[in-house]
């Protein structure tokens, strides 16, 4: 695979193949962390935003992009352009299927504190711990199907 001649759409396809290092059921594209892909005269420039700033997978993701798209430049953008609302619809569905409750849209979350169990769909759940195995997840418990589950934080 050579970078020369890659079209923007092809770059997006390649990026779609890079799994999130901690939750491999979703890709970096599903997560919405690829902010832009720019192809100029055969040179590929990719802008990428971290989910959480303390995410230990940050360097790993950057390297994975560089390996997948040879010769590309990757810029890490530390601004406020990523929120959990950037996770795609496909990404949310993949998370739910894997047993992670996807983050509620910010506007919904601000108005209601309803959290749905990813297994049985019940909203009869309670918070066990705001913090979980990674910065992006909380721990909840479903009082309906009696199953603990991981809830993506809405940020």
């Amino acid at each position: 695979m050579v970078a020369v001649g890659l079209q923007e759409a092809q770059v997006w396809e390649l990026l779609e193949e890079i799994p999130d290092p901690e939750i491999p059921v979703v890709s970096l594209v599903d997560l919405g962390v690829i902010r832009s892909v720019d192809v100029q005269d055969g040179h590929v420039h990719i802008e990428f935003t971290p989910t959480f700033l303390g995410c230990p997978a940050l360097e790993f993701m950057k390297r994975a992009i560089e390996e997948k798209v040879p010769g590309c430049d990757v810029t890490v953008i530390q601004d406020d352009s990523w929120s959990t609302d950037k996770i795609t619809a496909a990404g949310r569905e993949k998370l739910r299927e894997a047993g992670f409750a996807p983050p509620a849209p910010r506007l919904v979350q601000l108005q209601s504190q309803v959290h749905k169990c990813p297994y049985c769909g019940s909203t009869d759940t309670h918070l066990e711990n705001l913090f979980g195995p990674t910065p992006c997840r909380s721990l909840r418990y479903c009082d309906s199907c009696r199953q603990p589950f991981e809830q993506f934080k809405t940020i």
């Binding site: 700033l53 990523w82 066990e128 705001l130 990674t134 940020i155």
Partner: protein, 215 residues
């Protein structure tokens, strides 16, 4: 945005992150073990992002974090304290997050888009730290032991903020200070004896390989 102000916040987040990580494995309950570990990870991530902003995209954030002489660190004495008591630990969390929200709000209004953007991103994550701190505050606020801890740390908390933001901190925390003297705090630059041992532990591995280790 001036560099000393960004470094002050970065140093606060780095050293507080280190202090919070000291509860990993030994917090009074498993939930707090996880919470403090996660908060520590976030705070150190914020420090890294702020250092990177100061040194520029190709600069070495680690050098700024670990290689300065001790007297050049700009952290507030509040984050240096080696607290072994849970009441004091929670009091510091609550005071720190309350003060941090005030200064982040000011940074989000910065004319420099890079500063404002990063402050907004940090603030999103801090929302969860504040929820955690408020939950503990609500639980402990009527306990004399917690009230004493807040009183002990209050002068240190004042030292986190520039004078113009201290009144707001007093309002939000319900604490008081004489209106004719805003400088009661333990000010930045006046380091406590707890800083040197923490810095030595934090930088020990890095200093053991001055030429740079390959991991």
């Amino acid at each position: 945005m001036n560099e000393p102000a960004l470094l002050s916040i970065a140093d606060d987040e780095l050293f507080l992150g280190w202090r919070e990580s000291e509860w990993t494995g030994i917090a009074p309950m498993l939930e707090e073990d996880v919470a403090f570990s996660s908060i520590a990870q976030n705070e150190i991530g914020h420090a890294r992002a702020l250092y990177q902003l100061v040194v520029g995209e190709d600069g070495d954030a680690d050098a700024l974090a670990f290689d300065r002489p001790l007297e050049e660190y700009r952290c507030a004495p509040l984050v240096e304290l080696h607290l072994l008591d849970w009441a004091h630990t929670i009091a510091r969390r609550w005071l720190y997050e309350t003060a941090d929200e005030i200064r982040l709000a000011a940074l989000k209004d910065s004319d420099d888009p890079a500063v404002a953007g990063l402050a907004a991103k940090i603030d999103r994550e801090e929302t969860y730290h504040r929820m955690h701190a408020e939950m503990w505050h609500d639980r402990l606020k009527d306990e004399p032991r917690f009230q004493e801890a807040v009183a002990d740390l209050w002068p240190y908390a004042l030292g986190m903020l520039p004078e113009e933001q201290r009144g707001e901190l007093a309002v939000r925390t319900g604490q008081v200070f004489p209106s004719d003297n805003l400088s009661l705090g333990h000010e930045r630059g006046a380091h406590t004896d707890d800083l040197a041992p923490m810095w030595e532990e934090m930088t020990e591995v890095r200093r053991s390989a001055p030429a740079g280790a390959q991991w």
